[in-house]
Protein backbone atom coordinates (compact mmCIF):
# COMPACT_ATOMS: atom_id res chain seq x y z
CA UNK A 1 0.00 0.00 0.00
CA UNK A 2 1.31 3.40 -0.92
CA UNK A 3 1.63 5.70 2.11
CA UNK A 4 0.68 9.20 0.98
CA UNK A 5 0.68 12.26 3.28
CA UNK A 6 -3.03 12.07 4.03
CA UNK A 7 -2.84 8.38 4.97
CA UNK A 8 0.25 9.05 7.07
CA UNK A 9 -1.45 11.87 8.98
CA UNK A 10 -4.60 9.81 9.45
CA UNK A 11 -2.58 6.88 10.77
CA UNK A 12 -0.61 9.15 13.11
CA UNK A 13 -3.76 10.60 14.62
CA UNK A 14 -5.15 7.09 15.02
CA UNK A 15 -1.99 5.88 16.74
CA UNK A 16 -1.93 8.92 19.03
CA UNK A 17 -5.59 8.43 19.98
CA UNK A 18 -5.02 4.73 20.62
CA UNK A 19 -1.97 5.55 22.74
CA UNK A 20 -4.03 8.05 24.76
CA UNK A 21 -6.78 5.52 25.37
CA UNK A 22 -4.20 2.86 26.28
CA UNK A 23 -2.36 5.22 28.67
CA UNK A 24 -5.68 6.12 30.33
CA UNK A 25 -6.46 2.39 30.60
CA UNK A 26 -3.05 1.44 32.01
CA UNK A 27 -2.61 4.51 34.23
CA UNK A 28 -6.13 5.87 34.85
CA UNK A 29 -6.22 9.46 36.04
CA UNK A 30 -9.03 8.77 38.48
CA UNK A 31 -10.02 5.86 40.66
CA UNK A 32 -13.66 6.89 41.13
CA UNK A 33 -16.62 7.72 38.95
CA UNK A 34 -19.69 9.57 40.20
CA UNK A 35 -21.45 9.65 36.82
CA UNK A 36 -24.95 8.28 36.76
CA UNK A 37 -27.18 7.53 33.75
CA UNK A 38 -29.16 10.71 34.30
CA UNK A 39 -28.70 13.83 36.42
CA UNK A 40 -31.35 16.29 37.52
CA UNK A 41 -31.18 20.07 37.42
CA UNK A 42 -33.74 22.70 38.37
CA UNK A 43 -33.36 26.35 37.38
CA UNK A 44 -35.44 28.60 39.61
CA UNK A 45 -36.35 32.18 38.82
CA UNK A 46 -35.61 34.64 41.60
CA UNK A 47 -35.37 38.34 40.92
CA UNK A 48 -33.96 39.31 44.30
CA UNK A 49 -32.79 38.13 47.71
CA UNK A 50 -36.04 38.50 49.61
CA UNK A 51 -37.76 36.68 52.45
CA UNK A 52 -39.65 34.55 49.93
CA UNK A 53 -36.42 32.85 48.89
CA UNK A 54 -36.78 30.17 51.57
CA UNK A 55 -40.19 29.03 50.28
CA UNK A 56 -38.90 29.06 46.71
CA UNK A 57 -35.86 27.02 47.70
CA UNK A 58 -37.91 24.53 49.72
CA UNK A 59 -40.20 23.96 46.73
CA UNK A 60 -37.15 23.54 44.49
CA UNK A 61 -35.49 21.05 46.84
CA UNK A 62 -38.77 19.14 46.93
CA UNK A 63 -38.24 18.30 43.24
CA UNK A 64 -35.33 16.07 44.28
CA UNK A 65 -35.32 13.07 46.58
CA UNK A 66 -32.64 14.27 48.97
CA UNK A 67 -31.30 11.68 51.45
CA UNK A 68 -30.71 14.12 54.30
CA UNK A 69 -33.00 12.74 56.99
CA UNK A 70 -31.00 12.35 60.21
CA UNK A 71 -27.75 13.18 58.44
CA UNK A 72 -25.16 15.92 58.84
CA UNK A 73 -25.14 18.45 56.02
CA UNK A 74 -22.22 20.70 55.17
CA UNK A 75 -23.04 23.85 53.23
CA UNK A 76 -19.97 25.15 51.42
CA UNK A 77 -20.70 28.68 50.21
CA UNK A 78 -18.23 30.85 48.32
CA UNK A 79 -17.05 33.47 50.84
CA UNK A 80 -13.88 35.05 49.56
CA UNK A 81 -13.36 38.61 50.67
CA UNK A 82 -14.91 41.49 52.57
CA UNK A 83 -15.56 43.33 49.33
CA UNK A 84 -18.68 45.04 48.01
CA UNK A 85 -20.45 43.63 44.96
CA UNK A 86 -21.43 40.08 44.05
CA UNK A 87 -18.24 38.49 45.37
CA UNK A 88 -19.69 36.13 47.97
CA UNK A 89 -22.65 33.74 47.96
CA UNK A 90 -25.50 35.84 49.33
CA UNK A 91 -26.11 35.27 53.05
CA UNK A 92 -29.90 35.27 52.61
CA UNK A 93 -29.57 32.26 50.31
CA UNK A 94 -27.11 30.51 52.64
CA UNK A 95 -29.40 31.08 55.63
CA UNK A 96 -32.44 29.90 53.67
CA UNK A 97 -30.59 26.75 52.57
CA UNK A 98 -29.56 25.97 56.14
CA UNK A 99 -33.15 26.34 57.36
CA UNK A 100 -34.50 24.26 54.45
CA UNK A 101 -32.18 21.33 55.20
CA UNK A 102 -33.20 21.43 58.86
CA UNK A 103 -36.85 21.41 57.77
CA UNK A 104 -36.09 18.43 55.53
CA UNK A 105 -34.92 16.53 58.60
CA UNK A 106 -31.15 16.98 58.60
CA UNK A 107 -29.74 16.20 62.04
CA UNK A 108 -27.15 18.94 61.77
CA UNK A 109 -26.33 21.71 59.33
CA UNK A 110 -22.85 23.20 59.35
CA UNK A 111 -21.67 26.07 57.17
CA UNK A 112 -17.99 25.71 56.33
CA UNK A 113 -15.63 27.88 54.36
CA UNK A 114 -11.92 28.60 54.14
CA UNK A 115 -11.58 31.97 52.39
CA UNK A 116 -8.78 31.88 49.86
CA UNK A 117 -7.42 35.40 50.19
CA UNK A 118 -8.57 37.04 53.40
CA UNK A 119 -6.94 35.48 56.48
CA UNK A 120 -9.42 37.02 58.90
CA UNK A 121 -12.36 34.67 58.38
CA UNK A 122 -14.46 36.51 60.98
CA UNK A 123 -14.14 39.66 58.90
CA UNK A 124 -15.47 37.86 55.81
CA UNK A 125 -18.34 36.27 57.74
CA UNK A 126 -19.26 39.68 59.21
CA UNK A 127 -19.04 41.45 55.85
CA UNK A 128 -21.10 38.77 54.12
CA UNK A 129 -23.90 39.38 56.66
CA UNK A 130 -23.94 35.74 57.73
CA UNK A 131 -23.84 36.24 61.50
CA UNK A 132 -27.59 36.87 62.04
CA UNK A 133 -28.40 33.68 60.12
CA UNK A 134 -26.01 31.68 62.28
CA UNK A 135 -27.43 33.05 65.50
CA UNK A 136 -31.04 32.56 64.51
CA UNK A 137 -31.04 28.76 64.42
CA UNK A 138 -27.74 28.11 66.20
CA UNK A 139 -26.18 26.98 62.97
CA UNK A 140 -22.48 26.30 63.38
CA UNK A 141 -19.86 27.94 61.18
CA UNK A 142 -16.54 26.10 60.72
CA UNK A 143 -13.43 27.95 59.60
CA UNK A 144 -12.08 25.36 57.17
CA UNK A 145 -8.75 27.16 57.04
CA UNK A 146 -8.13 26.22 60.67
CA UNK A 147 -10.08 23.03 61.30
CA UNK A 148 -8.45 19.78 62.43
CA UNK A 149 -6.80 18.16 59.41
CA UNK A 150 -6.39 14.64 58.07
CA UNK A 151 -4.15 13.55 55.25
CA UNK A 152 -6.17 12.22 52.32
CA UNK A 153 -4.90 10.27 49.33
CA UNK A 154 -6.46 11.94 46.31
CA UNK A 155 -8.79 9.85 44.16
CA UNK A 156 -7.64 11.45 40.93
CA UNK A 157 -4.20 12.33 39.71
CA UNK A 158 -4.32 15.29 37.39
CA UNK A 159 -2.31 17.70 39.55
CA UNK A 160 0.43 15.36 40.68
CA UNK A 161 -0.23 16.40 44.30
CA UNK A 162 -1.03 12.81 45.30
CA UNK A 163 -2.42 13.76 48.70
CA UNK A 164 -3.83 16.76 50.52
CA UNK A 165 -4.53 17.64 54.14
CA UNK A 166 -8.27 18.26 54.39
CA UNK A 167 -10.57 19.46 57.22
CA UNK A 168 -12.36 16.93 59.41
CA UNK A 169 -15.58 18.93 59.17
CA UNK A 170 -15.68 18.19 55.46
CA UNK A 171 -14.56 14.58 55.66
CA UNK A 172 -17.03 13.76 58.44
CA UNK A 173 -20.11 15.30 56.86
CA UNK A 174 -22.63 12.98 55.21
CA UNK A 175 -23.92 15.37 52.59
CA UNK A 176 -21.83 18.12 50.97
CA UNK A 177 -23.68 20.98 49.31
CA UNK A 178 -21.59 23.30 47.15
CA UNK A 179 -23.10 26.79 47.05
CA UNK A 180 -21.10 28.81 44.52
CA UNK A 181 -21.65 32.36 43.38
CA UNK A 182 -21.99 32.33 39.59
CA UNK A 183 -18.91 34.27 38.45
CA UNK A 184 -16.32 34.50 35.74
CA UNK A 185 -12.78 33.81 36.91
CA UNK A 186 -9.58 35.37 35.60
CA UNK A 187 -7.57 32.14 35.91
CA UNK A 188 -10.15 29.35 35.49
CA UNK A 189 -12.67 30.98 33.15
CA UNK A 190 -15.58 30.32 35.50
CA UNK A 191 -15.95 29.68 39.21
CA UNK A 192 -18.95 27.46 39.93
CA UNK A 193 -19.64 24.45 42.16
CA UNK A 194 -16.45 22.54 41.30
CA UNK A 195 -14.05 25.49 41.60
CA UNK A 196 -15.83 26.47 44.82
CA UNK A 197 -14.27 23.39 46.45
CA UNK A 198 -10.88 25.13 46.56
CA UNK A 199 -12.32 26.54 49.77
CA UNK A 200 -12.05 23.19 51.57
CA UNK A 201 -8.27 23.24 51.20
CA UNK A 202 -6.89 24.61 54.49
CA UNK A 203 -5.01 27.92 54.51
CA UNK A 204 -3.12 27.00 57.70
CA UNK A 205 -1.23 24.41 55.66
CA UNK A 206 -1.33 25.79 52.09
CA UNK A 207 -1.50 29.53 52.77
CA UNK A 208 -3.58 32.51 51.70
CA UNK A 209 -4.01 32.18 48.74
CA UNK A 210 -3.74 28.43 48.29
CA UNK A 211 -1.03 29.06 45.77
CA UNK A 212 0.28 25.50 45.61
CA UNK A 213 -2.96 24.56 43.82
CA UNK A 214 -2.25 27.20 41.17
CA UNK A 215 1.25 25.88 40.63
CA UNK A 216 -0.14 22.35 40.31
CA UNK A 217 -2.68 23.55 37.73
CA UNK A 218 -6.04 25.09 38.62
CA UNK A 219 -8.15 22.77 36.46
CA UNK A 220 -6.10 19.75 37.53
CA UNK A 221 -6.41 20.62 41.22
CA UNK A 222 -10.17 21.15 40.89
CA UNK A 223 -10.55 17.66 39.41
CA UNK A 224 -8.43 16.04 42.13
CA UNK A 225 -10.23 17.82 44.98
CA UNK A 226 -13.71 17.06 43.64
CA UNK A 227 -12.82 13.40 43.06
CA UNK A 228 -11.74 13.18 46.69
CA UNK A 229 -14.51 15.26 48.29
CA UNK A 230 -17.64 14.36 46.35
CA UNK A 231 -20.29 17.06 46.06
CA UNK A 232 -23.75 15.63 46.72
CA UNK A 233 -25.83 18.64 45.79
CA UNK A 234 -25.46 22.13 44.33
CA UNK A 235 -27.29 25.37 45.07
CA UNK A 236 -25.74 27.98 42.80
CA UNK A 237 -26.38 31.64 43.53
CA UNK A 238 -27.01 33.18 40.13
CA UNK A 239 -29.48 35.82 41.23
CA UNK A 240 -26.86 38.54 41.11
CA UNK A 241 -23.81 37.17 39.33
CA UNK A 242 -20.43 38.54 38.22
CA UNK A 243 -19.02 38.96 34.73
CA UNK A 244 -15.75 40.31 33.32
CA UNK A 245 -12.67 40.29 35.55
CA UNK A 246 -14.06 37.94 38.22
CA UNK A 247 -13.91 36.54 40.83
CA UNK A 248 -13.25 39.77 42.79
CA UNK A 249 -13.14 42.74 40.46
CA UNK A 250 -15.75 41.95 37.85
CA UNK A 251 -19.05 43.73 37.17
CA UNK A 252 -22.46 42.92 38.56
CA UNK A 253 -24.67 40.90 36.23
CA UNK A 254 -28.31 40.38 37.08
CA UNK A 255 -29.12 36.81 36.06
CA UNK A 256 -32.11 36.13 38.32
CA UNK A 257 -31.55 32.37 38.68
CA UNK A 258 -30.86 29.79 41.35
CA UNK A 259 -29.55 26.52 39.95
CA UNK A 260 -30.16 23.31 41.91
CA UNK A 261 -28.64 20.00 40.87
CA UNK A 262 -27.82 16.55 42.18
CA UNK A 263 -24.65 16.53 40.06
CA UNK A 264 -21.94 19.24 40.15
CA UNK A 265 -20.89 18.82 36.52
CA UNK A 266 -24.49 19.06 35.35
CA UNK A 267 -24.94 22.11 37.60
CA UNK A 268 -21.85 23.86 36.26
CA UNK A 269 -22.63 22.94 32.66
CA UNK A 270 -26.09 24.46 33.11
CA UNK A 271 -24.66 27.61 34.73
CA UNK A 272 -22.12 27.89 31.90
CA UNK A 273 -24.93 27.67 29.34
CA UNK A 274 -26.86 30.34 31.25
CA UNK A 275 -23.74 32.52 31.03
CA UNK A 276 -23.58 31.99 27.28
CA UNK A 277 -20.51 29.73 27.45
CA UNK A 278 -19.88 26.35 25.91
CA UNK A 279 -19.24 24.04 28.92
CA UNK A 280 -17.06 21.79 26.79
CA UNK A 281 -14.59 24.65 26.54
CA UNK A 282 -14.09 24.86 30.30
CA UNK A 283 -11.24 22.41 30.83
CA UNK A 284 -12.19 21.10 34.26
CA UNK A 285 -15.79 20.66 33.08
CA UNK A 286 -14.98 18.79 29.90
CA UNK A 287 -12.66 16.44 31.80
CA UNK A 288 -14.98 16.28 34.83
CA UNK A 289 -17.71 15.12 32.46
CA UNK A 290 -15.77 11.85 32.12
CA UNK A 291 -16.12 10.88 35.79
CA UNK A 292 -17.46 13.58 38.12
CA UNK A 293 -20.87 13.92 36.52
CA UNK A 294 -22.85 14.53 33.37
CA UNK A 295 -21.99 17.30 30.96
CA UNK A 296 -24.10 16.40 27.96
CA UNK A 297 -27.56 17.95 27.74
CA UNK A 298 -29.16 14.60 26.86
CA UNK A 299 -27.96 13.25 30.22
CA UNK A 300 -29.46 16.14 32.19
CA UNK A 301 -33.13 16.10 33.09
CA UNK A 302 -34.47 19.61 33.59
CA UNK A 303 -36.98 19.57 36.44
CA UNK A 304 -38.16 23.14 36.18
CA UNK A 305 -37.65 25.50 33.27
CA UNK A 306 -35.34 24.88 30.30
CA UNK A 307 -32.05 26.72 29.99
CA UNK A 308 -32.69 29.54 27.61
CA UNK A 309 -29.79 31.37 26.00
CA UNK A 310 -28.96 34.62 27.81
CA UNK A 311 -29.96 37.86 26.11
CA UNK A 312 -26.24 38.54 25.90
CA UNK A 313 -23.37 36.32 27.02
CA UNK A 314 -21.40 37.19 30.14
CA UNK A 315 -18.50 39.46 29.29
CA UNK A 316 -15.06 37.88 29.70
CA UNK A 317 -11.44 38.94 29.65
CA UNK A 318 -9.95 38.65 26.13
CA UNK A 319 -8.05 35.50 27.22
CA UNK A 320 -11.39 33.71 27.75
CA UNK A 321 -13.28 34.67 24.60
CA UNK A 322 -12.93 31.06 23.47
CA UNK A 323 -15.48 30.10 26.15
CA UNK A 324 -18.31 31.83 24.31
CA UNK A 325 -20.78 29.42 22.76
CA UNK A 326 -21.16 29.60 19.00
CA UNK A 327 -24.67 30.69 18.03
CA UNK A 328 -26.46 27.98 16.05
Amino acid sequence: MKLDRRRFLGSSVGVAAAAGVTTEWVWPKHTVSYRRPLSAVAVLNAAEYSESIEALLLDGLGLFRLPVLGRSVLLKPNLVEDLPGPVNTNSALIGAAARCFLRLGAARVVIGEGPGHQRDTELVVQAAGLKPHLAERQIEFVDLNRDELRKVKLKANYSGLGELWLPSAVLESDFVVSMPKVKTHHWAGVTLSLKNMFGVVPGMKYGWPKNLLHWSGIHESILDICASVPIHFVIADGITAMEGNGPLQGSTRQLGKIVLADDPVAADATCARLMGFDPLRVRHLSEGGRFLGNLREDRIRMLAEDVGAPTRPFSVLPEFRYLLAVKS
Binding site: D120, R146, S168, P209, L212, N245
Partner: protein, 306 residues
Protein backbone atom coordinates in the same frame (compact mmCIF):
# COMPACT_ATOMS: atom_id res chain seq x y z
CA UNK B 1 -11.18 51.87 81.71
CA UNK B 2 -9.55 52.26 85.16
CA UNK B 3 -6.07 50.67 85.48
CA UNK B 4 -7.25 48.09 88.02
CA UNK B 5 -10.16 46.99 85.86
CA UNK B 6 -7.84 46.88 82.86
CA UNK B 7 -5.40 44.45 84.50
CA UNK B 8 -8.33 42.36 85.80
CA UNK B 9 -9.67 42.11 82.26
CA UNK B 10 -6.30 41.02 80.86
CA UNK B 11 -5.84 38.46 83.66
CA UNK B 12 -9.27 37.02 83.00
CA UNK B 13 -8.57 36.71 79.27
CA UNK B 14 -5.22 35.08 80.02
CA UNK B 15 -6.97 32.57 82.30
CA UNK B 16 -9.39 31.70 79.50
CA UNK B 17 -6.48 31.17 77.11
CA UNK B 18 -4.54 29.11 79.66
CA UNK B 19 -7.55 26.88 80.27
CA UNK B 20 -7.46 25.90 76.60
CA UNK B 21 -3.83 24.76 76.64
CA UNK B 22 -3.45 21.11 75.69
CA UNK B 23 -1.55 18.51 77.70
CA UNK B 24 1.25 18.61 75.13
CA UNK B 25 1.83 22.28 75.98
CA UNK B 26 0.47 23.50 72.63
CA UNK B 27 -2.78 25.08 71.55
CA UNK B 28 -5.12 24.16 68.71
CA UNK B 29 -6.78 26.97 66.75
CA UNK B 30 -10.19 25.76 67.90
CA UNK B 31 -11.44 23.01 70.17
CA UNK B 32 -9.61 20.07 68.60
CA UNK B 33 -6.81 17.62 69.34
CA UNK B 34 -4.42 19.02 66.73
CA UNK B 35 -1.87 21.58 67.92
CA UNK B 36 -1.40 24.60 65.67
CA UNK B 37 2.05 26.18 65.69
CA UNK B 38 0.65 29.66 65.01
CA UNK B 39 -1.85 29.43 67.88
CA UNK B 40 0.80 27.98 70.20
CA UNK B 41 3.37 30.69 69.45
CA UNK B 42 0.90 33.56 69.80
CA UNK B 43 -0.49 32.09 73.04
CA UNK B 44 2.99 31.63 74.50
CA UNK B 45 3.91 35.21 73.57
CA UNK B 46 0.69 36.49 75.14
CA UNK B 47 1.21 34.58 78.39
CA UNK B 48 5.01 34.58 78.55
CA UNK B 49 5.65 37.45 80.98
CA UNK B 50 3.66 35.64 83.62
CA UNK B 51 5.87 32.58 83.71
CA UNK B 52 9.43 31.36 83.37
CA UNK B 53 10.23 30.70 79.72
CA UNK B 54 12.61 27.86 80.54
CA UNK B 55 9.88 25.90 82.30
CA UNK B 56 7.06 26.84 79.97
CA UNK B 57 5.26 23.80 78.60
CA UNK B 58 4.66 25.70 75.38
CA UNK B 59 8.38 26.33 74.87
CA UNK B 60 9.12 22.67 75.54
CA UNK B 61 6.42 21.79 73.02
CA UNK B 62 8.03 24.12 70.49
CA UNK B 63 11.47 22.60 70.98
CA UNK B 64 10.07 19.09 70.65
CA UNK B 65 8.07 19.87 67.52
CA UNK B 66 10.95 21.45 65.60
CA UNK B 67 11.74 19.30 62.58
CA UNK B 68 15.22 17.89 62.06
CA UNK B 69 15.86 20.37 59.20
CA UNK B 70 15.19 23.31 61.55
CA UNK B 71 11.71 24.22 60.31
CA UNK B 72 8.36 23.90 62.07
CA UNK B 73 5.23 22.38 60.56
CA UNK B 74 1.99 24.38 60.43
CA UNK B 75 0.41 21.84 62.81
CA UNK B 76 1.54 18.82 64.78
CA UNK B 77 1.39 15.69 62.63
CA UNK B 78 2.72 17.30 59.48
CA UNK B 79 6.31 16.56 58.54
CA UNK B 80 6.98 19.56 56.33
CA UNK B 81 8.43 22.90 57.44
CA UNK B 82 6.19 25.90 56.85
CA UNK B 83 5.61 29.64 57.28
CA UNK B 84 5.13 29.12 61.02
CA UNK B 85 8.90 28.65 61.35
CA UNK B 86 9.25 32.45 61.39
CA UNK B 87 6.71 32.88 64.21
CA UNK B 88 8.32 30.03 66.17
CA UNK B 89 11.69 31.77 65.82
CA UNK B 90 10.15 35.06 67.03
CA UNK B 91 8.75 33.17 70.03
CA UNK B 92 12.12 31.65 70.93
CA UNK B 93 13.80 35.02 70.27
CA UNK B 94 11.59 36.51 72.99
CA UNK B 95 13.18 34.12 75.53
CA UNK B 96 16.74 35.06 74.51
CA UNK B 97 17.68 31.42 74.99
CA UNK B 98 17.77 28.14 73.03
CA UNK B 99 20.47 29.31 70.63
CA UNK B 100 20.93 25.97 68.87
CA UNK B 101 17.23 25.64 68.00
CA UNK B 102 17.14 29.25 66.84
CA UNK B 103 20.27 28.84 64.72
CA UNK B 104 18.70 25.83 62.97
CA UNK B 105 15.50 27.79 62.38
CA UNK B 106 17.50 30.69 60.94
CA UNK B 107 19.30 28.30 58.57
CA UNK B 108 15.96 26.87 57.45
CA UNK B 109 14.56 30.34 56.81
CA UNK B 110 17.71 31.40 55.02
CA UNK B 111 17.41 28.48 52.60
CA UNK B 112 13.66 28.83 52.05
CA UNK B 113 12.49 31.08 49.21
CA UNK B 114 9.50 31.73 47.01
CA UNK B 115 9.40 29.84 43.75
CA UNK B 116 10.38 32.99 41.83
CA UNK B 117 13.76 32.55 43.55
CA UNK B 118 14.57 30.04 40.80
CA UNK B 119 15.93 31.56 37.56
CA UNK B 120 13.53 29.59 35.36
CA UNK B 121 10.41 31.01 36.98
CA UNK B 122 11.90 34.51 37.11
CA UNK B 123 12.49 34.25 33.38
CA UNK B 124 8.92 32.95 32.81
CA UNK B 125 7.36 35.78 34.83
CA UNK B 126 9.46 38.32 32.98
CA UNK B 127 8.76 37.05 29.48
CA UNK B 128 5.41 35.30 29.20
CA UNK B 129 3.36 35.49 32.40
CA UNK B 130 2.62 39.20 32.76
CA UNK B 131 -0.98 39.29 33.98
CA UNK B 132 0.17 40.01 37.52
CA UNK B 133 2.47 42.99 37.92
CA UNK B 134 5.53 42.38 40.08
CA UNK B 135 9.30 42.24 39.84
CA UNK B 136 10.26 38.56 40.12
CA UNK B 137 13.86 39.50 40.96
CA UNK B 138 12.54 40.62 44.33
CA UNK B 139 11.41 37.53 46.17
CA UNK B 140 10.71 36.60 49.76
CA UNK B 141 9.18 33.63 51.54
CA UNK B 142 6.28 31.30 50.65
CA UNK B 143 3.56 29.89 52.89
CA UNK B 144 4.63 26.41 51.91
CA UNK B 145 7.63 25.14 49.99
CA UNK B 146 6.93 25.05 46.27
CA UNK B 147 4.75 28.15 46.02
CA UNK B 148 5.51 31.81 45.32
CA UNK B 149 6.46 34.52 47.83
CA UNK B 150 3.63 36.17 49.74
CA UNK B 151 3.44 39.17 52.03
CA UNK B 152 2.70 37.66 55.46
CA UNK B 153 5.29 34.84 55.46
CA UNK B 154 7.86 37.28 54.06
CA UNK B 155 7.11 39.87 56.72
CA UNK B 156 7.28 37.38 59.61
CA UNK B 157 10.53 35.94 58.24
CA UNK B 158 12.11 39.41 58.03
CA UNK B 159 11.15 40.16 61.64
CA UNK B 160 12.38 36.76 62.88
CA UNK B 161 15.76 37.08 61.13
CA UNK B 162 16.21 40.71 62.19
CA UNK B 163 15.53 39.78 65.80
CA UNK B 164 17.81 36.74 65.69
CA UNK B 165 20.70 38.58 64.05
CA UNK B 166 20.28 41.85 65.94
CA UNK B 167 23.67 41.49 67.63
CA UNK B 168 25.44 39.54 64.91
CA UNK B 169 24.32 40.80 61.52
CA UNK B 170 26.14 39.03 58.71
CA UNK B 171 26.36 39.83 55.04
CA UNK B 172 24.18 36.84 54.19
CA UNK B 173 21.42 37.75 56.66
CA UNK B 174 21.50 41.41 55.60
CA UNK B 175 21.23 40.44 51.95
CA UNK B 176 18.25 38.20 52.56
CA UNK B 177 16.49 40.81 54.71
CA UNK B 178 17.12 43.44 52.05
CA UNK B 179 15.68 41.23 49.31
CA UNK B 180 12.57 40.55 51.43
CA UNK B 181 12.10 44.26 52.14
CA UNK B 182 12.46 45.03 48.44
CA UNK B 183 9.83 42.41 47.67
CA UNK B 184 7.39 43.95 50.17
CA UNK B 185 7.90 47.42 48.75
CA UNK B 186 7.49 46.15 45.20
CA UNK B 187 4.20 44.43 45.97
CA UNK B 188 2.52 47.21 47.93
CA UNK B 189 -0.91 48.27 46.69
CA UNK B 190 -1.06 51.34 44.48
CA UNK B 191 -2.48 53.60 47.21
CA UNK B 192 -0.63 51.96 50.09
CA UNK B 193 -1.18 48.85 52.16
CA UNK B 194 -0.79 45.24 51.09
CA UNK B 195 -3.01 42.58 49.63
CA UNK B 196 -1.87 38.93 49.92
CA UNK B 197 1.04 39.44 47.57
CA UNK B 198 -0.06 41.13 44.38
CA UNK B 199 -0.91 44.75 43.73
CA UNK B 200 -2.24 44.69 40.17
CA UNK B 201 -3.97 41.82 38.38
CA UNK B 202 -4.96 42.31 34.73
CA UNK B 203 -4.18 45.99 35.22
CA UNK B 204 -6.70 46.42 38.04
CA UNK B 205 -5.36 47.51 41.45
CA UNK B 206 -6.15 45.22 44.36
CA UNK B 207 -7.43 46.52 47.70
CA UNK B 208 -5.25 46.20 50.82
CA UNK B 209 -5.90 43.57 53.47
CA UNK B 210 -5.67 44.76 57.05
CA UNK B 211 -3.65 41.88 58.51
CA UNK B 212 -1.17 41.79 55.61
CA UNK B 213 -0.75 45.57 55.85
CA UNK B 214 -0.22 45.51 59.61
CA UNK B 215 2.33 42.67 59.50
CA UNK B 216 4.17 44.11 56.48
CA UNK B 217 4.49 47.43 58.31
CA UNK B 218 5.90 45.60 61.34
CA UNK B 219 8.54 44.12 59.04
CA UNK B 220 9.37 47.60 57.71
CA UNK B 221 9.73 49.20 61.16
CA UNK B 222 13.50 49.61 60.63
CA UNK B 223 13.20 51.02 57.12
CA UNK B 224 12.93 54.57 55.92
CA UNK B 225 9.50 56.17 56.27
CA UNK B 226 9.03 56.44 52.53
CA UNK B 227 5.88 57.80 50.97
CA UNK B 228 4.63 54.22 50.50
CA UNK B 229 5.17 53.42 54.20
CA UNK B 230 3.38 56.65 55.20
CA UNK B 231 0.46 55.93 52.87
CA UNK B 232 0.17 52.40 54.22
CA UNK B 233 0.27 53.63 57.80
CA UNK B 234 -2.39 56.18 57.02
CA UNK B 235 -4.60 53.50 55.43
CA UNK B 236 -4.16 51.28 58.51
CA UNK B 237 -4.99 54.14 60.88
CA UNK B 238 -8.20 54.88 58.99
CA UNK B 239 -9.17 51.23 58.76
CA UNK B 240 -8.54 50.64 62.46
CA UNK B 241 -11.05 53.34 63.34
CA UNK B 242 -13.94 51.30 61.98
CA UNK B 243 -13.03 47.61 61.96
CA UNK B 244 -14.98 45.38 64.37
CA UNK B 245 -13.23 42.09 63.84
CA UNK B 246 -11.10 41.15 66.87
CA UNK B 247 -8.12 39.76 64.97
CA UNK B 248 -7.88 42.62 62.49
CA UNK B 249 -8.26 45.28 65.17
CA UNK B 250 -5.63 43.58 67.35
CA UNK B 251 -3.08 43.53 64.51
CA UNK B 252 -3.81 47.22 63.83
CA UNK B 253 -3.02 48.05 67.48
CA UNK B 254 0.19 45.97 67.52
CA UNK B 255 1.48 47.82 64.45
CA UNK B 256 0.31 51.34 65.28
CA UNK B 257 1.99 51.02 68.68
CA UNK B 258 5.36 50.24 67.06
CA UNK B 259 4.94 53.32 64.87
CA UNK B 260 4.18 55.36 68.02
CA UNK B 261 0.64 56.15 66.95
CA UNK B 262 -2.06 56.67 69.63
CA UNK B 263 -3.76 53.37 70.47
CA UNK B 264 -5.70 54.11 73.67
CA UNK B 265 -9.10 54.43 72.00
CA UNK B 266 -8.53 51.37 69.86
CA UNK B 267 -7.56 49.27 72.90
CA UNK B 268 -10.72 50.36 74.71
CA UNK B 269 -12.81 49.39 71.70
CA UNK B 270 -11.06 46.01 71.47
CA UNK B 271 -11.68 45.40 75.18
CA UNK B 272 -15.37 46.17 74.68
CA UNK B 273 -15.73 43.90 71.65
CA UNK B 274 -13.86 41.00 73.20
CA UNK B 275 -15.77 41.03 76.53
CA UNK B 276 -14.71 38.10 78.70
CA UNK B 277 -13.14 36.37 75.69
CA UNK B 278 -15.19 33.20 76.00
CA UNK B 279 -16.91 33.84 72.69
CA UNK B 280 -13.55 34.11 70.95
CA UNK B 281 -13.16 30.46 70.00
CA UNK B 282 -10.05 30.91 67.87
CA UNK B 283 -7.09 30.75 70.27
CA UNK B 284 -4.76 32.56 67.86
CA UNK B 285 -7.25 35.45 67.78
CA UNK B 286 -7.63 35.50 71.57
CA UNK B 287 -3.84 35.50 72.01
CA UNK B 288 -3.38 38.33 69.49
CA UNK B 289 -6.04 40.34 71.30
CA UNK B 290 -4.25 39.85 74.65
CA UNK B 291 -0.98 40.97 73.05
CA UNK B 292 -2.72 44.07 71.70
CA UNK B 293 -4.31 44.89 75.04
CA UNK B 294 -0.91 44.52 76.73
CA UNK B 295 0.84 46.87 74.30
CA UNK B 296 3.14 49.17 76.26
CA UNK B 297 3.12 46.90 79.31
CA UNK B 298 5.44 44.24 77.92
CA UNK B 299 8.16 43.89 75.33
CA UNK B 300 6.44 43.86 71.95
CA UNK B 301 7.05 40.38 70.49
CA UNK B 302 7.41 41.63 66.93
CA UNK B 303 9.52 44.69 67.65
CA UNK B 304 13.17 44.65 66.61
CA UNK B 305 15.11 46.06 69.56
CA UNK B 306 18.35 47.76 68.67
Amino acid sequence: MAPGLWSDRISSLAETLKSRQMKSGGWAYFDSVQESLEATCLAELALAPERQASSSAAILFLLKSQLSDGGWPAFLGDSEGSWTTAIALCTLNSTGDFTAAREKAFRWLYAERGREGHWFWRWKFKTSDRNVRFDPDKYGWPWVTGSASWVIPTAFSIIAIEQFTVCNRSEESEKRIHLGVEMLLDRACVDGGWNSGNSLVYGVPLRPHVEATAIALLALQDEQRTEMVQKSLSWLRQYAASVDSVSSLAWCILTLFVYQEPIGGLRNRLATIIGNGRDIRNNATLATAILALKCGEMIHPFEVLR
